[in-house]
């Protein structure tokens, strides 16, 4: 910044003291935490009813499914909020993307999609799952945008919006449908694995799309010729 910082020395030293105090407090808490197993035993005791074998996935999609449902909704809300700001479309560089970028995208994008599918499947029994897979899909989407390739460019904006909402819709539908036999988000044990996979698959698509479009900033429009999303 060319302008000098207008924050006065008094504010700086006060902020420094505040930050130092808070950092010391948190550090002291870290050092004095009592030894504990937390909720590890409680999770382990219920693992065989969760439908998956990885404890973090079991907590995310089953025991604390409510958190994850709201989290997917927050992501969708952020996307709707960003689109509603109606930012000006990004300035397009007059130069075409270079040969190296285009060839790199050609190599990387199929690989990213395959690894995303692998991570999605892996989530049931090892670190992985919908969010990691969705992040990879979003990376593929951003690469495609940078290379100005648009495999999804022919889809109408309405379809793209539906895909962005698919994760929340499927999650909510499953959450409500299992109420026939029990309570909200309490999956029947026999179906839990399949239901979790269905939710995660839908969430992966929506997360990838939402993150990629958050990178782009402006919403897909009809016939704008600029829907260069991946």
């Amino acid at each position: 910044m060319s302008r000098p910082e207008p924050v006065s020395a008094a504010v700086r030293s006060l902020a420094g003291l505040l930050a130092l105090g808070l950092g010391t407090l948190v550090g002291w808490v870290v050092l004095t935490l009592p030894e504990s197993t937390g909720l590890r035993e409680a999770v382990a005791a219920q693992m065989d009813r969760s439908g998956v074998t990885h404890p973090v996935t079991a907590v995310l999609l089953n025991f604390r499914g409510y958190d994850t449902l709201l989290e997917v909704a927050v992501l969708l809300l952020a996307l709707i909020g960003t689109w509603s700001l109606r930012l000006a479309p990004a300035e397009r560089s007059p130069d075409r993307p270079g040969l190296v970028l285009r060839e790199l995208v050609r190599l990387l994008v199929p690989l990213l999609v395959v690894i995303a599918g692998y991570l999605l499947w892996l989530g049931a029994h090892a670190p992985g799952g919908a969010f990691q897979a969705g992040a990879l899909l979003a990376a593929a989407g951003v690469l495609l945008m940078l290379a100005e390739v648009r495999p999804l460019g022919r889809l109408s904006p309405a379809v793209l919006r539906l895909l962005a909402a698919l994760g929340v819709a499927v999650f909510l539908a499953v959450a409500l449908l299992v109420m026939v036999q029990g309570r909200l988000l309490e999956y029947p044990v026999a179906w839990a694995g399949g239901l979790i996979l269905a939710i995660e698959s839908a969430a992966t698509v929506s997360i990838g799309l939402a993150l990629a479009y958050l990178f782009l900033g402006d919403e897909p429009r009809v016939g704008s010729g600029r829907g260069r999303a991946g």
Binding site: M1, E5, P6, V7, V11, R12, A15, G16, L18, A19, L20, L22, G23, T24, V26, G27, V29, V30, L31, L33, P34, E35, S36, T37, G38, L39, R40, V43, P55, V56, A58, V59, L60, R64, D67, T68, E71, V74, L75, L77, A78, L79, G81, T82, L85, L87, A88, P89, A90, E91, F131, I207, L211, L214, F215, G217
Partner: protein, 115 residues
């Protein structure tokens, strides 16, 4: 000192550094970055707190942090879009009101670029 305690202390340090930067920097991009540094410090502390004692860590804090990361990314994206909008509307990438108390008209965009 175990590695887990080192993670926790690093998290505490990140919280302090991020809080300081959040206060002293006016530029909205720097503020958004500072909030992210604070948030990642909190994530580190929570992940470190999941491993207290021998054996595998408690999965619940890990799931909480995973949820938190996605929420933080969503909030960051929305904040960045809002910051761009503020700059487009006022010509300034900061929230401070000029000394004479009048907001600049939207035409006063010095760099002329939309983004």
């Amino acid at each position: 000192m175990s590695a887990v305690v080192a993670y926790g202390l690093a998290g505490a340090g990140l919280v302090a550094v991020g809080l300081y930067a959040l206060v002293v920097h006016e530029h909205l991009l720097r503020k958004i970055l500072a909030i992210n540094v604070v948030g990642n410090g909190v994530f580190l502390v929570i992940v470190a707190a999941a491993q207290r004692g021998p054996g595998v860590p408690d999965p619940v804090p890990h799931a909480m942090v995973l949820t938190g990361i996605v929420v933080a990314v969503s909030a960051t994206a929305l904040a960045l879009a809002l910051a761009v909008r503020v700059r487009d509307a006022t010509g300034q990438p900061r929230l401070a009101v000029p000394a004479d108390g009048t907001a600049e008209p939207s035409a006063g965009r010095p760099d002329g670029a939309a983004r």
